[in-house]
Subunit: 132 residues, 2 copies
DNA sequence: CGGTATCCGTTGCGATACTG
DNA sequence: CAGTATCGCAACGGATACCG
């Protein structure tokens, strides 16, 4: 008989194996997908940007800045540029005075947002030090 | 009529809203769950540790080091300590000479590994710059 | 074997000032 | 409004040496 916990472990092993197998040929080409993932989007400011754009759909620079307490204009600028370069965020400039720029998630960005929200919710539900 | 894409967007918004709502009371207590998540486990070395422990179940320090190309003893030590403090990794010391230490994932760590493997696999499947 | 201590160059990032 | 430029400190992290 196979217990529930054993099933879970087997599924985990299988999923990680899948990741390892897919990553292998990329590693041989000098590209590490894990590093790429982190380089593209895995820092806290990027995560805040992705969450807010996932929720509000379209935001301007200053709106986004106001929704992310503690972020500086510099880091917001840097994060958005990185996200744009990696195809996660789309930037739309309007030829107006004063200037107007709108940020949205690309389809790829929306998929990523889904996965990150999933991770965040799981973490919130299981984090043992919630009260500390 | 509601299209598939619209449904996806609604689900995304709902999931992020759930995260925001859960996070709100923690933020008022001065704890940011997103920062906690990153502080606990979101760097590339920690991710490699979690993946390898998820796959091989139990590994010793040097085994883990050998399975993670490029990691230094210092960073492996630092990462494992952080993961242990955050309840993700369990450390078992054997009173032997020469010393023997085994690392495994805690149940919390296994859950996290599942989510990270899921994220990694999604990223591998959709990353647009796979070939670059 | 399984680490720790120290050094030190590199990077991250906030603050401030400035611009089309 | 939507950024950029520069500065300066702090943290990251690799190399090396050492230890119980």
């Amino acid at each position: 008989m196979v217990t529930k916990a054993e099933n879970q472990e087997l599924r985990l092993k299988k999923n990680i194996k899948k990741y390892f197998l897919q990553a292998q040929p990329m590693l041989e080409n000098g590209v590490c997908p894990t590093k790429a993932l982190f380089a593209a989007s895995m820092d806290k400011w990027s995560m805040f940007c992705v969450f807010n754009l996932g929720y509000f759909k379209v935001l301007r620079f200053t709106e986004l800045k106001n929704k992310i307490p503690g972020i500086s204009a510099r880091m917001l600028s840097v994060s958005l540029k990185k996200l744009e370069q990696n195809g996660i965020v789309a930037r739309k400039v309007f030829a107006e005075v004063p200037p107007k720029v709108e940020y949205t998630l690309t389809p790829f960005g929306k998929g990523l947002a889904e996965k990150l929200a999933d991770l965040g919710n799981w973490f919130l539900a299981h984090y043992p030090n919630k009260d500390s």
